[in-house]
């Protein structure tokens, strides 16, 4: 028999991430440098987007000791012109894990600002250097912090805090980390390049450790409308989420302490007067309409307890058992628990029921979900087999599961509200493609919003052919929520859809100079891995991608066949130009003539006919 007693210790989120940093893309110096760049650049762009600021992002990577071989320590700095972070929030935001402002249902590049803290954590682990944060929210005063992270306690340790005057607002984050630029360089440059394609309204500058400068100026001046935070869609919900929503929807039985009693007396207009139980009740009746929910609950409780305020001070409500119509309380005077029966015919009983049992199902649906009206709510109740007035608080576990299942299955909900999405838009996308590739042919499309599992998404896609594009295509540029996806492309749904396409059908043959830009916008991108590099093949997303690609491919085919005709005409003209003079030469001798026939006009006419 073993006598070892297992020890269960709670670990801090910092410790958890410390031991699982592979998950977040910090598996080796190459990948880590790249991931850190991404996290900071994306945070900077997100911050600007959300405040409607045209982003100017400056990325600097410098080797601490340039002569050392890779992997070695680098200083990574990302500066932006965004809103900055309040001085009081900086230590927590940059010195703890799982602290962020990005909770809520809307499209953003990152979800919780988690990656940036991971990068800071990684930097600290590998170089033992603090993160340096410089922030100005008003464009006048800049706060500068040097912070280390206490991994065990998940708490910031401020090493230094200074302020100085400055003329521009924005945030600058600088960390020291172990990286391998000789290996990660290509990806980072690709990342910056591809990011500027999908963020045409941003100016991005990159100073690399080899003192090369990569500058991408904005070429679009309009920021796409920022996304709004919205309520969830019924399809995108599970039992646990419903349970939490019910808790939010329930009104707690107010704690009846002195201050609460004072508030009730004041609302009843009895601050100065002391009335008995019956008088208090009748006063409450006359004032009922103007009473707040909390006060009403207290009055209802008093009605069953048959107590005035003085007596109320000496007890504590323990439980309200609505189905059994019993009210339990602790009497401080007697030091024992007591019970009173509640009269279910009393109007006060209903007041308590409403409070304890929460909203009716229909109200719950219309108030807490997006795009559910009263009619749909009633239809749904019927579909799910619940009474529309069923109280949310009275749902058993089984009923919750049934509710959750039915929410998934009911097909009459309107599709998710895409207002929480921020696609780039067809025009900027087209401009970007034209600027980057100078192609002979471009087509872009933004599909209407669709949804998978209750999460809305929009597919934007562009296709370009010829011009400066390298042959050997299709080259696929994948984006999700304006992030370029550079790794693990093999298993990506976009690649799958592209590879499934029979390009011969669209008259694209051989090694075409041909690119595809795909952008998936969603409140939740179904990444296959935590590293956020490839998108899983959800059927709904795959379908939309396919439709987008087919639409564009048909346009390409039309272009190609036009181009093909032109080429064919040219080819024919060349053939005529080559052979007709020969025919003329031979037949002249055959016919015994001296002068060749006049065929030049014929060739010219032929060229005109073909061009038409």
């Amino acid at each position: 028999m073993s006598s070892i007693k297992e020890q269960f210790n709670q670990i801090s989120p910092s410790e958890f991430f410390y031991s699982n940093r592979d998950l977040a893309g910090f598996s080796n110096p190459t990948r880590s440098l790249y991931t850190a760049v991404r996290e900071f650049v994306e945070n900077a762009l997100d911050a600007c987007d959300q405040h409607g600021i045209l982003p100017e992002v400056h990325l600097i990577i410098k080797a601490v000791d340039p002569d050392k071989p890779d992997p070695k320590s680098y200083i990574l700095t990302v500066k932006d012109n965004g809103p900055g972070v309040d001085a009081e929030h900086i230590p927590l935001a940059f010195g703890t894990v799982l602290y962020g402002s990005k909770f809520g249902l809307k499209q953003a590049r990152g979800m919780f600002g988690l990656g940036a803290t991971m990068a800071i954590l990684y930097g600290q682990i590998t170089t033992n250097k603090p993160v340096i944060v410089k922030s100005s929210t008003d464009g006048k005063i800049q706060n500068e912090f040097e912070i280390l992270l206490d991994i065990q306690k998940n708490k910031p340790v401020i090493l230094k805090h200074t302020t100085k005057e400055i003329s521009k607002n924005g945030l600058s984050v600088s960390i020291c980390l172990e990286g391998d630029y000789s290996k990660a360089g290509t990806k980072i440059r690709d990342y910056v390049y591809e990011t500027s394609l999908i963020t045409p309204y941003a100016t991005i500058t990159f100073d690399d450790p080899k003192e090369q400068k990569f500058h991408h100026s904005r070429f679009v001046r309009d920021i796409p409308p920022p996304p709004t935070i919205i309520r969830p869609h019924p399809h995108g919900i599970d039992v646990e989420r419903i349970r939490r929503m019910i808790v939010e929807s329930q009104f707690e039985i107010p704690t009846i302490d002195d201050s609460m009693i004072e508030k009730v007396r004041k609302d009843l207009g009895l601050s100065k007067k002391s009335l008995g139980f019956a008088a208090t009740m009748s006063k409450a009746k006359t004032k009922w309409k103007n009473l707040s929910r909390q006060v009403r609950v207290v009055v209802a409780l008093m009605s069953f307890l048959k107590m005035d305020f003085e007596m109320l001070r000496k007890i504590k409500i323990e439980d309200i058992d609505v189905p059994n119509k019993k009210l339990y309380y602790w009497d401080f005077g007697d030091s024992q628990s007591k019970t009173v029966d509640m009269d279910s015919d009393s109007p006060y009983y209903k007041q308590l029921t409403n409070t304890v049992q929460g909203e009716p199902l229909t109200t719950f649906l219309t108030k807490r979900f997006q795009r559910v009206g009263p009619t749909t709510a009633i239809k749904f109740a019927e579909f799910a087999g619940f009474k529309p007035e069923k109280r949310m608080g009275t749902m058993t576990n089984q009923e919750l599961v049934k509710l959750s299942d039915s929410l998934q299955k009911f097909e009459e909900f309107l599709s998710p509200d895409p207002s929480c999405l921020a696609p780039l838009g067809e025009e900027p996308l087209e401009k970007g493609i034209k600027k980057f590739f100078n192609p002979d042919f471009t087509a872009v499309v933004q599909r209407p919003a669709s949804a998978y599992s209750g999460f809305p998404f929009i597919i934007e896609m562009g296709i370009a052919y010829g011009g400066d594009i390298k042959p050997g295509g299709p080259h696929v540029y994948r984006y999700a929520n304006r992030i370029p996806l550079l790794y693990d492309e093999g298993s990506d749904v976009v690649l799958k859809v592209v590879n499934d396409t029979d390009w011969g059908r669209y008259k694209v043959k051989g090694e075409p100079p041909f690119i595809i830009v795909s952008h998936i916008c969603s409140t939740r991108i179904p990444y296959k891995t935590a590293g956020k590099e490839n998108v899983a093949d959800r059927p709904e997303i795959e379908r939309e991608l396919r439709l987008a690609l087919q639409f564009l491919s048909r346009k390409l085919a039309a272009y190609m066949s036009k181009k093909g005709q032109a080429e064919m005409a040219k080819k024919r003209a060349n053939l005529y130009a080559k052979y007709v003079p020969l025919i003329a030469q031979f037949c002249t001798e055959l016919a015994g003539k001296k002068k060749e026939p006049n065929y030049k006009k014929m060739l010219e006419e032929e060229a005109i006919v073909e061009n038409e």
Binding site: L582, I583, C587, A591, P597
Partner: protein, 369 residues
């Protein structure tokens, strides 16, 4: 004097033939010239040589092309190349004929390269040559493209050459015992006169030599021709001319097998490959042996037929020309005995047996065939 008159007459014939071909070529050239001059893409039609368009003409006793034809249009970019090749060939044939120069299929293939005309390979140029034959309905020998394989001729026949450098020169074809090879100069030569009364075509060179040695030409007043297996077209042309111009009957002696029978048939009625030509057959030519029935009759040493021999028999049974007469009869016997005998088999009875015994019998028989 008589000979001279004949010679002049013949010369006119040869001139006429040349004039004819030049005239046709000029007509085609002029049409194409006019089309171009009028801003039109020239085109012409070529009789189709596909299997479905080859039919047997019972009256003519040969295969001929049916009525279907293909248009070759220079406007069609996929036909432009072969159109140009064809015009070039006509142009080249015109020069050959005017200058009386001979050439071969292979020559033509290489000559094309001097005129920036590309042929993928010789097969492509050969095909264009057959196209021109079909359009003109003339064998390529008429426009001076000759075969390379040579067969030979021996006998008392006076000819007068028409090729440049030899014009007017005459020759008696019995002066050289190895015989005279049938090349361009002989094919285009005028046939002046002969004392022969028959033409004997033999399949094999060995027997040809034996016939010369045994003076078959004198004994039987004949002209002997070695076909060297399947008779080349120039040889068939010469056979036809000997028959038509000199009014000589033609008999054919081959090995006693199905291939031999068919060699005789091709001399008589042509091949499907040359269905577009009308001047290569000697419909009155007679196959006198070796017949399948001869194998039994003369108790010749035999060898068994191979599988491909037998298959060939069955194939020929479907040919309309093998539906009657000795053609059908002998084919059936071959199939029955499934054995074959060569001409040399008569050597069993002595080297001269074939000329002393067999040939006279057959010549006699031929009169009644």
């Amino acid at each position: 004097m008589k000979t001279n008159e004949k010679s002049q007459q013949q010369n006119k014939k040869s001139d006429k033939k040349q004039k004819d071909i030049l005239e046709i070529l000029k007509t085609y050239g002029a049409k194409i010239y006019d089309d171009l001059d009028n801003g039109q893409f020239p085109k012409f039609s070529i009789p189709s040589r596909s299997v479905s368009n080859i039919v047997y003409d019972k009256k003519l006793r040969q295969y001929v092309l049916g009525n279907s034809a293909a248009i070759r249009n220079s406007r069609n970019s996929s036909q432009l190349r072969s159109f140009t090749q064809l015009i070039w060939l006509a142009f080249f044939a015109n020069r050959l004929t005017q200058e009386k120069k001979s050439s071969t299929l292979r020559d033509v293939y290489y000559s094309s390269q001097a005129f920036a005309i590309e042929f993928e390979d010789q097969a492509e140029s050969d095909n264009i040559i057959v196209d021109l034959e079909a359009i003109l309905s003339k064998p390529r020998e008429d426009f001076h493209v000759f075969p390379e394989e040579r067969s030979s001729i021996f006998g008392d026949l006076n000819v007068e050459y028409t090729i440049p450098g030899y014009e007017g020169k005459t020759m008696n074809l019995s002066n050289h015992p190895d015989g005279y090879s049938i090349g361009p100069s002989l094919t285009s030569a005028e046939l002046l006169d002969t004392s022969a009364e028959i033409v004997i075509a033999i399949e094999k060179g060995g027997l040809f030599t034996r016939f010369v040695e045994e003076q078959v030409d004198k004994k039987f007043k004949s002209i002997i021709i070695n076909t060297g297996g399947q008779a080349p077209r120039s040889t068939r042309t010469l056979l036809k001319r000997l028959h038509d111009e000199m009014k000589l009957p033609v008999i054919v002696l081959t090995d006693g097998d199905v291939y031999g029978e068919h060699i005789a048939m091709v001399i008589k009625s042509g091949s499907a490959n040359a269905a577009h030509l009308r001047e290569l057959t000697v419909p009155d030519a007679k196959w006198v042996g070796v017949w399948a029935t001869d194998i039994e009759k003369f108790k010749l040493p035999t060898i068994p037929m191979t599988e491909s021999d037998i298959k060939r028999c069955y194939d020929l049974q479907k040919d309309p020309r093998y539906q009657e007469g000795i053609w059908k009869k002998e084919l059936d016997v071959f199939l029955r005995i499934k054995r074959k005998a060569e001409l040399e088999a008569f050597s069993k009875y002595g080297l001269t047996n074939i000329t002393d015994k067999y040939l006279p019998q057959k010549l006699d028989l031929a009169k009644s065939l």
